[in-house]
């Protein structure tokens, strides 16, 4: 479904956070976060409400000031500075009456040609191709405020991948997407990491879903409480303390029922 754009595999490159912290006024939102996010890996970010998950993403894009280090290293471990970041928000600040079309939004992302005048043909072509990767090309002239949650997520994902970022940050949609739509979304994201060799960091509220798809899970509550493969994190005492019952992965799979399609990320379910 997705063309391979990056030919060179770089299993070693990673985005690295060291002593990463965010403070607003006297309020410490995050402190001493140390994280390595590897290329070709989907890292799931979980934690209770107010744990600082969205804050971490916002700080990584540079919207919030942070302390500590954020660096991107390529395959040879040479610093290449601040990573190119693609960001998919949880939602857009839209009211129902907003007249902006999908084309307007996508064009504003990639081009400086004023969208209130018109769109250049090359921009439009490029946007068509981007949307087509996520079966969203038919939405191009729709008002963005009229899209369903799932449609909007596909459009946002298509925009975030042009240009191909070093690091893709996703804030999982919590409202307006049905379970089926959510599964499609997770599948798409999961395919992306291999097809583009991307580092993906995804905030998730659905522990069942993320443990199926993620290579690694990070449990966050102001700082990193646990990190590692999904099985290890879900059995971590901190996880049990924060989320109560010690649910096994097997219970999750029974809960998720129909969605246990074979997937590399669920390899641990048989061991």
């Amino acid at each position: 479904m997705i063309n391979k754009n990056k030919t060179s595999k770089c299993d070693l490159c990673c985005t690295r956070l060291e002593k990463f912290g965010v403070k607003i006024g006297k309020n410490v939102l995050l402190h001493d976060v140390d994280l390595h996010i590897h290329c070709g890996e989907l890292t799931g970010l979980i934690g209770p409400n107010g744990a600082g998950k969205s804050t971490l993403l916002k700080a990584m894009t540079g919207e919030l000031p942070f302390t500590g280090k954020l660096s991107f290293l390529d395959a040879k471990e040479l610093r290449t500075g601040h990573p190119l970041i693609g960001y998919v928000p949880q939602h857009l600040d839209l009211d129902k009456g907003s007249p902006a079309s999908v084309l307007d939004f996508c064009a504003a992302c990639i081009s400086s040609f004023p969208v209130w005048i018109s769109h250049t043909r090359t921009d439009k072509q490029r946007i068509m191709e981007n949307l087509a990767r996520f079966q969203a090309e038919h939405l191009i002239n729709r008002r963005i405020s009229n899209l369903s949650g799932g449609e909007l997520q596909r459009v946002l994902l298509a925009c975030a991948l042009d240009p191909i970022p070093d690091l893709l940050l996703l804030d999982e949609p919590v409202a307006g997407v049905d379970p089926r739509g959510l599964e499609i979304f997770y599948n798409m994201v999961s395919d992306l990491r291999r097809d583009y060799d991307l580092s993906i960091l995804m905030v998730s509220h659905d522990h069942a879903m993320i443990s199926q798809f993620a290579d690694r899970i990070v449990l966050l509550d102001k700082t990193v409480l646990a990190a590692g493969n999904p099985r290890a994190v879900l059995h971590d005492p901190n996880f049990v303390r924060l989320f109560g019952a010690r649910l096994t992965l097997e219970t999750y799979h029974n809960q998720s029922g129909t969605m246990t399609r074979h997937h590399p990320a669920v390899r641990f379910s048989n061991d």
Binding site: L57, K58, T61, G62, E63, I85, G86, Y87, P89, H91, L92, D93, L94, G97, S98, P99, A100, S101, L103, D104, F105, A107, A108, C109, S111, S112, F113, P114, V115, W116, I117, S118, N141, R143, L156, A160, L169
Partner: protein, 280 residues
Amino acid sequence: MIELWYSLLESMVPFSWIEYDFMKNALLAVLLVSPVFGLLGTMVVSNRMAFFSDAIGHAALTGIAIGVILGLCDPLWAMLIFAAILAVAITWARGHTEASADTVIGVFFSATVALGVVILSRGGAFNRYSQYLIGDLLSISPQEIYLVGIVLLIVLLFWAFFFNRLFLLSFNATVARSRGVRTSLVETAFAVLLALTVTISIQWIGILIINALLILPAAAARNLAQSMRTYHLLAVSISLLSGIVGLFMSYQWGTATGATIVLCCFGLYLGTIAFKALRK
């Protein structure tokens, strides 16, 4: 240049009111100022900044008061500087406090209006400044029209170079930031541009209704538009149409021009609602 405009109108417009120079001036001012309000209004409405622009309009009172204290005969510079500082302060406060934008603006709003009224009403002299409340478009001078022309040019340039960034920012600050938009800079620049435009236009439109000219054309355009292009096209057209019709009606009825234009705008707004309802 203004003579060229006069002779052009006299040869082309078959109405008697065009004989008066003040009407020719007012018409030219309307043609220049309407697109400014149409364009800025689209983003004021999209960014939910209606209350902000209203506050800036009312803060003109304090600007005038400061001008009076400093002994300036034309308080415009004092008004402009004060409006710019206030715009920066409100934008900063919105980003750095936990309070909602409404509350932040409300606090600044009431404080500045009160300060302006207190200073201007010293010795019961407030009536002298009541012209600013209603405004008088027919009093605009050719020099002032040049000023409006410059404002239009600045707004067009800003819209050509910064619109996409402002537009992205209105969707989601983090998305804009990930696209390399310097969010606070763009936000502040827009707030200052809006504040300066509103302040310059106050003396002709009036504090009480200036906000309507920003909000109504864009609000009407939103009822029909399907893209940013049609949104802007409709907002500017509605703004221009109601400006021209309103000017003519105010001449016929002997009413305040700004308010008459606003009523025309409102009529068009109702029209778009009716059209939208019928289309469904």
